[in-house]
Symmetry: C2
Subunit: 322 residues, 2 copies
């Protein structure tokens, strides 16, 4: 399923969003303009803005209020990606050169700050302080998740619960917040906003699990990221945690991870142990459970075509090829 | 003059601010808490919060409204410093180890993001969207100033006007905004808020010029930063720009800068040319003119002891030892 198909009725507003975001990055400093537009031009599914739009469909859908927030959450997301790529010294993302590989770390750190400040400015332009605080707190959760990930690097005793807490913080909370603010802006009642927030959170957990699975068995040409990048940098995800408990070759895998450096042969070796362990299927099963939970949240929502679209997004999370 | 003396009547509220900020950085993740508290514990003059407080003294001074904003501007300032130190690979600031030297670049980038998001959260808690937007725009100006500085590195044709534009963006706008938001929160009329904003801006220009002079003729033990750090990294400040135009040894200086790398002897050589050129006195003179302009802004303010304190702060800018 193509993204425009998947996102159904909000696809036209997402198309408008591209223009709106680009206009907002106009800047008298050419380097700042070019380097900020770069991650926007790299594309992306715009899932977070889509969730803002879709969550607002069940009450008053006012595009002029929603557009700045949809742009704001995407700018915030872009800011975290640009800073991530500095931290990870990544040279490509989605098959595109990263900002740091084109303009260096200095400009990248500044571009991330610029995108974040622009997000705050644009959101404050049209929204209540509640929306701003909710999203600022979300950024703090993303940071907290990243710090947990750093602390847990190479730790063979990492548990599934710790993994789920981490991906909740670094990915799922933000998805939840996008749904939450969309619903609030539309004037939805508290209970509905809460259900949509939970939907976003659960869908976000499944999204991150799928991302982690793709790092084990995806193809670089599909994901735009080198396969095995997580394990190579010590980030142990659920398929690996599972393999470290249940694989017949778990001691071999632990030994490879303990060495803290992989040549290509060793990396393929480690990935093979994980693939054979059943850890991928286990993770996909768990992701499906989160998707089912998320879909159940939609049951009591008012009847509206957006319900079907949200349903399709949830399904997509556990089945996406990229 | 000691800082507490200088800051007069707002010294007690600044003391309360220290506690308030530390409490706000409580965090379940120990690394995030420690690394965020670290730049706070490094101290600092808290000039920006002091300006927020002082600018509010001429109308309704409501500490419970001002405190979150005073904390917010200092967190924002700290965020830019932490990211600066990553960019510059600095190992000390104010004589303290930097966050990056203690926890590495990854944690530092995240801590900067965390401080910025915390600032936004805390400001949105108590203030209008206007305040948030004003400060977010300011962060964008700081970024723009930093980008200009990067683009102008090692450029012998840098002009005084370009230098003044740059320090306006990277330092003075923020000082101006602190005065502006303090005045607005107190309910001051537009004209008064505007005069105070200009005061802050002009004082900020003088502050940065003084900072740049100290990098030429300060003592490392006073400033906590290695002397000559600017010129060594290609950042040409007004004393250097002056020397490149007016020194008898300007060709020698240009040659040293053109080599783009200094050993210690060459650095001392370059600093000596700048010191002898009269560039330091020229810069101090210009800073004094900005201070005088700033002080003239205070004339029409209502009579209040805060006026004297602001006057003293302006004087301090052009005479501070550190």
């Amino acid at each position: 399923m193509k993204t425009t198909e998947l996102l159904g009725e909000v696809a036209p507003d997402l198309a408008r969003l591209e223009r709106y975001m680009a206009d907002y990055l106009e800047n008298p400093e050419p380097v700042l303009k070019d380097a900020s537009l770069h991650p926007l031009q790299a594309g992306g599914k715009r899932l977070r803005p889509a969730l803002v739009f879709l969550a607002a469909k069940f009450h008053r859908y006012e595009l002029e209020k929603l557009m700045p927030v949809a742009a704001g959450v995407e700018f915030m997301h872009m800011a975290t990606l640009v800073h991530d790529d500095v931290i990870d010294q990544a040279s490509t993302r989605r098959g595109w050169p990263t900002v740091n590989s084109r303009w260096g770390n200095k400009v990248s750190v500044l571009v991330g700050d610029h995108l974040f400040a622009t997000a705050v400015d644009i959101i404050a332009k049209s929204s209540s302080n509640e929306t701003i605080r909710l999203l600022a707190k979300c950024i703090n959760e993303v940071v907290r998740g990243e710090i947990q990930q750093t602390n847990a690097a190479w730790r063979l005793d990492l548990t599934q619960d710790q993994y789920i807490e981490r991906i909740g913080l670094k990915t799922a909370s933000f998805f939840g917040a996008c749904c939450h603010v969309g619903a609030r802006i539309s004037g939805a009642p508290d209970e509905l906003s809460h259900q949509l927030e939970r939907f976003g959170f659960e869908v976000g957990v499944a999204f991150q699990m799928m991302d982690d699975v793709l790092d084990i068995n995806g193809e670089t040409r599909d994901t735009g990221k080198p396969v095995g990048g997580d394990i190579q940098s010590g980030v142990l995800t659920l398929p690996v945690i599972y393999a470290l408990r249940h694989s017949a070759d778990r001691d071999h895998l632990a030994g490879l991870i303990n060495s803290r450096a992989f040549n290509n042969g060793q990396l393929q070796d480690a990935l093979e142990v994980v693939r054979k362990s059943g850890g991928v299927d286990y993770t996909l099963d768990l992701a499906s459970q989160y998707v089912d939970q998320a879909k159940a949240r939609l049951r009591d929502l008012p009847d509206h075509p957006a319900k079907e679209t949200l349903n399709n997004i949830a399904d997509f999370m556990a089945n996406r090829p990229v």
